[in-house]
């Protein structure tokens, strides 16, 4: 049992090296995609939650997970499973993840959505709340395009996703 805990820790450390293919500052762990790591002997099963169902990056993520865990040297067989229960929600992004997103110039998902379904996004560059939404849909399924009227930078924000929607 203790041996397994060590192995899981080893795999988890490796997973921190797997970055979102399109946002290379944030790991899939900080993005909240990791649900579970199961270990049996020298094989590991990694269960991940896709952010959006049609995300084309999933195959790349699968491959990178396999590569990184293999590189860590404790496993010979790795299986990546994408599951959708529980569903990924934007509140799964960790505190570190929220900082890393900002570093990349992407506003983290809002933590509060009002009853009317409205939410507010601060500019990731200058912190201003004086922003406008240009397009709810951005370059990837999980992002929107906004504009900061204070520092006049366009920026992206992660869409809030919640089971309340």
């Amino acid at each position: 049992m203790e041996q397994n805990q060590k192995l899981i820790k080893n795999a988890l450390e490796a997973l921190h090296n797997v970055k979102d293919p399109e946002i290379d500052t944030i790991s899939i762990v900080d993005l909240g995609m990791l649900e579970q790591i199961e270990v049996e002997g020298n094989s590991a099963v990694v269960k991940l939650l896709p952010t959006f169902m049609g995300c084309p990056a999933l195959d790349i993520i699968r491959k990178n997970v396999e590569t990184e865990i293999l590189k860590a040297g404790k496993f010979e067989k790795i299986e990546v499973r994408f599951i959708y229960h529980p569903p990924w929600t934007s509140d799964r992004v960790t505190e570190t993840g929220r900082l890393k997103l900002k570093e990349f110039g992407i506003a983290p998902p809002p933590q509060l959505i009002s009853e009317t379904g409205e939410w507010h996004v601060d500019c990731p560059f200058c912190g201003s709340t004086y922003t406008t939404m240009d397009n709810l849909f951005g370059p990837t399924a999980c992002r929107s395009i906004l504009y900061c009227k204070s520092c006049r930078n366009p920026f992206e924000a992660m869409k809030p996703v919640s089971t309340m929607m």
Partner: protein
């Protein structure tokens, strides 16, 4: 590849209704996502190009997951379910296979944006109602999937509803064309609403609520929207003019779409993607 979900044995009596429902859900999303993809580069403005292609990508993702549930039930591989089935085996509503307009997306496309808005808005609203019901499905893997898909629909619905109301309120040519598009969509919307010959079994097994309940819910939700834009729509306007896709009746539009979208797949069905 997803988690194998069918560890629990499924009552053989439920299977025909369950697979029938899944084929409808999968085929509806699949063909409409394809029609959406044909708009790429042709939408009214660049922001719309981004939004519509994002929505179509999500929708194709939903289709893939519904096909995955069918694969898990032993119906065949996802890719082959999506690409290799002939028109007569498809269960999508006829409305969703209709071409976007005259011409071809590679040349001389004269696509009808009003039709795109009306078709997508009405369909997404009915899909939302269906998936809300599926969250309580007796088939657990479908209930879990519905919860996930539903969250993404929030954005799709917001998008199409905004377009619909704004164009309807714009007056002039926009209003005229939107009214024509609504007429065209309603003339086949019964085909979207219907759950086919096994609808009663689906409800009896608790897979989804009865067709009539879902239909009334759609009418109820749309009523204030129609009233706000001063558009008279009644239940009697819903028809199935061009055939019942749920029993495999389809138009030449579907044949042409399948020939195009499965062209690469058919070169080598065993190839890995």
């Amino acid at each position: 590849m997803t988690e194998p979900v069918n560890k629990m044995p499924i009552d053989a009596k439920v299977m025909p209704a369950l697979t029938s429902l899944l084929y409808q859900l999968a085929d509806d999303d699949f063909i409409l996502a394809y029609r959406g993809s044909e708009w790429l580069g042709l939408a009214p403005h660049i922001e719309e190009d981004v939004a519509f292609s994002s929505i179509s990508q999500d929708t194709m993702g939903h289709a893939a997951m519904f096909y995955q549930l069918l694969e898990d039930l032993g119906e065949g591989k996802v890719d082959s379910l999506a690409h290799a089935r002939k028109a007569a085996e498809r269960r999508n509503a006829v409305l969703l296979e209709a071409v976007n307009g005259p011409g071809h997306y590679l040349s001389a496309a004269q696509y009808d944006w009003a039709f795109a808005v009306a078709r997508n808005y009405f369909y997404i609203q009915s899909k939302k109602i269906r998936l809300d019901s599926l969250k309580n499905s007796s088939y657990q893997p479908l209930a879990e999937l519905a919860l996930k898909v539903n969250m993404e629909l929030y954005y799709h619905l917001l998008h199409w509803k905004t377009w619909f109301i704004q164009l309807m309120q714009a007056g002039g040519e926009a209003r005229t064309r939107m009214e024509a598009a609504v007429g065209k969509v309603l003339a086949d919307f019964e085909g979207v609403i219907t759950l086919g010959p096994l609808a009663k079994d689906m409800a009896d097994h608790g897979l989804i609520e009865p067709e009539e309940v879902l239909k009334q819910r759609w009418l109820l939700i749309m009523k204030p929207v129609f009233e706000s834009i001063n558009l008279a729509v009644s239940e009697a306007d819903l028809a199935m003019k061009n055939g019942n896709g749920r029993i495999g009746e389809h138009t030449a539009d579907l044949d042409a779409a399948l020939a195009t979208l499965s062209e690469v797949y058919n070169i080598n069905p065993a190839a890995s993607w």
